[in-house]
């Protein structure tokens, strides 16, 4: 192959149909890693494209490919390749590296994406911490207090929702099973809102306790709770008492 000077100062090559390089300008050498065969200068993912697109059948063509640059900064350089077949055997190739502006935009998009990801990541960590705190809070909002050998008190705190009931349900059942408790007093005095799914979950736990032979007494029911509980139409023989005081008098002597 021959190095030529009488051409524009851009990377220019003259190749054969077999991609052998016959002539090239200095610029080619400056920007890319030189080879006798043009295909060897291409990124392996671009070779196939070059073989299919740089053919005499397409006498003038423009394609986008990646070439291996001589600088070690990038592994690949995206370029526009202009192809012009002089005849069936020889083609002129002109290589115009992509506008730096576009590459810059691509790079900064990448940076923005990774910043978003980091933020997302930090949010996720905080979210998990919060979830753990909430779960812990839920677990602690239904302590099992043994008032006497046969009676236990379970004061419920905060809003009654399914999540909370699920969190305390298992422990409640285990505690009830491990003791000789016959009566469980559920105190709703400190309960705020009762949610629909909370009532349903609560029903499940109460039902399980009833199967285990417990007598369930609900105390401290507020007017709006009463309506919610009424919606349940429970047929489990739940007992209701107005206050904890009454309940203690009745069950703990």
């Amino acid at each position: 192959m021959k190095q030529v000077d009488e051409f524009f100062s851009i990377p220019y090559l003259l190749i054969t149909k077999q991609f052998e390089i016959l002539q090239y300008t200095t610029e080619v050498e400056e920007i890319f890693v030189m080879h006798h065969n043009f295909l060897k200068m291409c990124d392996e993912e671009s070779v196939h494209k070059v073989i299919k697109e740089v053919v005499p059948g397409k006498s003038k063509n423009k394609i986008e490919i990646n070439l291996v640059p001589s600088s070690a900064n990038h592994d690949l350089l995206l370029v526009d390749l202009y192809v012009n077949w002089k005849n069936d055997l020889h083609a002129e190739l002109m290589i115009i590296p992509k506008d730096q502006g576009m590459l810059d935009v691509t790079a900064s998009l990448g940076q923005l994406r990774s910043r978003l990801n980091t933020t997302n990541f930090e949010l996720l960590e905080e979210k998990e911490k919060l979830q753990e705190a909430m779960a812990e809070n839920n677990r602690l909002s239904a302590p099992f207090i043994e008032l006497s050998s046969t009676t236990a008190l379970v004061p419920l705190f905060g809003d009654l929702n399914a999540e909370k009931i699920y969190a305390v349900g298992d422990e409640l059942l285990t505690s009830a099973q491990q003791s000789y408790i016959e009566t469980i007093l559920f105190d709703l005095t400190a309960v705020g809102e009762i949610e629909q799914d909370g009532v349903i979950a609560f029903q499940g736990v109460v039902q399980s306790l009833a199967y285990m032979g417990m007598e369930i007494v609900v105390i401290g029911v507020k007017p709006d709770h009463a309506q919610r509980i009424n919606d349940l139409k429970l047929k489990l023989g739940l007992k209701f008492l107005r206050s904890l005081q009454q309940a203690i008098r009745k069950y703990c002597n």
Partner: protein, 220 residues
């Protein structure tokens, strides 16, 4: 039918029509599981877009747009997974990262979605992660499994180096190597009892089932 779907999806991505893409995905999700969506729609659509570039029909800029829209669709899909469905305290942990210099990340993101749906705790660190940075995060969080992804052959040495480094961690986490690199090249020489090369989400599902039956539990 499938062919039509992924080509349609690719078309939306290339045109930057994120609403239409999301709509199509939502419609498909009512009929198919998430895995189908990842394996038979999104992945083929992205490969199809790569093929269009090779046929000189689209430019790299078009590919970037399609990637960004696809990213959006995947993020939105993720938002639909409610983690608190999984109450168990001992949830498995996986950390996902792309090899250093690697810019392809959509597959990794799909794997993140895959594991989230399984109820795992997922740390998606994104692509192009230097080894020392990755190691710090991993040692901090002590995941049960590390997922490493790469697309281009240039990453082979880095993938090997990272795999070796991860293999030396004291609590012996499971290591999964995936991405296009696993499909295109034979990486079986990297495989050990601890390291698995996975060629797609369907295969990952199988590995996951095997690990569920024993290996991960033994090491955790």
């Amino acid at each position: 039918m499938t062919r039509k779907h992924y080509e349609k999806f690719a078309e939306y991505l290339l045109q930057g029509k994120e609403d239409e893409a999301v709509e199509l995905v939502d419609k498909l999700l009512t009929l198919h599981p998430r895995l189908y969506l990842f394996e038979d729609i999104i992945t083929p659509a992205m490969y199809y877009i790569g093929a269009l570039w090779e046929k000189n029909e689209i430019s790299v800029a078009d590919e970037h747009l399609a990637t960004a829209v696809c990213d959006f669709v995947l993020s939105r899909l993720d938002a639909g997974v409610y983690e608190n469905k999984f109450q168990s305290k001992k949830r498995k942990k996986i950390i996902l990262l792309g090899a250093e210099e690697e810019q392809h990340y959509l597959g990794l993101k799909m794997v993140a979605g895959f594991y989230r749906e399984k109820g795992w705790r997922v740390r998606y660190l994104g692509p192009n992660l230097p080894l020392n940075h990755a190691l710090r995060q991993i040692k901090d969080w002590q995941p049960d499994v590390i997922g490493l992804s790469a697309a281009l052959s240039y990453r082979l040495p880095v993938v090997k180096q990272m795999t070796e480094a991860f293999s030396q961690l004291s609590w012996s986490p499971g290591i999964i190597i995936g991405g296009r690199i696993a499909k295109k090249y034979d990486l079986s020489n990297l495989e050990t009892g601890q390291v698995r090369v996975v060629k797609g989400l369907t295969e990952l599902e199988q590995v996951h089932n095997v690990w569920k039956a024993g290996v991960v539990d033994e090491t955790s």
